[in-house]
Symmetry: C2
Subunit: 227 residues, 2 copies
């Protein structure tokens, strides 16, 4: 099909950038949507811009979500909470969980997709590494697909938007291997919660990333402070 469009939720991190590479590989015209929801750092936003440049996307939007900062209750948006240093692997919901974040991201992506008549939304949610996040689970994604099937104009008109979550069941190593095959520019991505120019190598996110590269038998191209 000519000129199929995909909206890709792009944080500038490893997973979302891999998603963008996958959507590009599928032949979609790319429309990125990046959220500024009061993160501690602008580093992610800069990475998202560089990744969007790299893929020469058709259009990009950065949406400021001050609301999430105002309602707080998460270490990623509330400056008074400290970011945990240990890899999360239990059943509890981690402190870095932002209430309703993925639902909000997908809602905005759906609005954007409807407006530009896109066929697909790509989001890099992953059910393995972040098992503690309720909005990263397969049943959540299925439920949102159902919402898109019944609640959007394009669906009523016979062309529902397809929610694509290619990374949902993959390990970090599998994601990295797939992206590596597709030539995803991991040197432009950022994952560290601290958001400094050099990654800390110690936070949840850095450790997951480093372990992923190691298991994939590849070298992470970004600089680390502590390695």
């Amino acid at each position: 099909m000519l000129n199929r469009k995909a909206v890709v939720v792009l944080s500038g991190g490893l997973d979302s950038t891999t998603c963008l590479g996958i959507a590009a590989d599928e032949g979609y015209s790319l429309y990125t949507l990046t959220f500024d929801y009061g993160q501690r750092h602008a580093r992610e936003l800069r990475a998202a811009e560089q990744v969007a440049d790299y893929y020469q996307v058709a259009d990009r939007r950065i949406v400021k979500l001050d609301f999430l900062r105002k309602i707080g209750k998460s270490a990623l948006t509330d400056f008074h909470l400290s970011v945990p240093k240990n890899v999360h692997d239990g059943e509890d919901i981690p402190i870095t969980y932002v209430p309703g974040r993925n639902l909000l991201f997908l809602s905005l992506a759906a609005s954007f997709a409807e407006a530009i008549e896109a066929q697909a939304i790509y989001i890099g949610v992953n059910a393995l590494d972040y098992s503690g996040y309720p909005d990263c689970r397969p049943q959540f994604i299925q439920a949102v697909q159902k919402v898109l099937d019944v609640g959007t104009k394009t669906a009523v008109e016979g062309a529902p938007i397809s929610l694509q979550t290619p990374l949902l069941h993959l390990t970090k190593a599998e994601i990295i291997r797939w992206g590596h095959r597709l030539g995803v520019p991991y040197q432009l991505t950022t994952s560290c919660y601290e958001g400094a120019e050099e990654a800390c190598g110690e936070c949840d996110s850095c450790r997951l990333r480093l372990r992923g590269f190691k298991e994939a038998g590849l070298v992470d191209p970004i600089p680390y402070r502590s390695l």
Copy 2:
């Protein structure tokens, strides 16, 4: 139960104000959420403030959604489209449909509800008067409830947020009769798409409202220009 909290999506219109009255009658502590999504008028926002004052809500938030204006494609957010004057009663999706609006509203309401640990979200969607809006249909509401059941922290912890849509299957006259019994301050509400101090009496929304009051055997307390 003591101190049950409800987030009420409040536009300042007749339906959402009735919802607020219903939530108050149910004994909830009230938290209103009002959206400024680039409407043509500030009249609605003022009405929402006055209604929130009237009900002495525990907290209120106004969320600016510039994003919806930027993606346009709706007469309510795009200044270049004219608002239709005739009551919508067909199968087509009206030009006043804002892509993904209710999903976005409910996503933000869910974030707010999670943050304050609310038990319920009230939204005044109606499947009868606005049959052309895909995101006002019962199957859409059911699908969003499912998302809340599987995708929120409170649900995982055993206390899912209940999505309340008391007006879903009511006619405008039934809504008005219910609100009238509860003492809902309809004199503070606004419905006209034009957003002037006096309602036009001619747009879709004015005509639905006037017909509703007439069928309910009541007099609409707001001033109309053309009557």
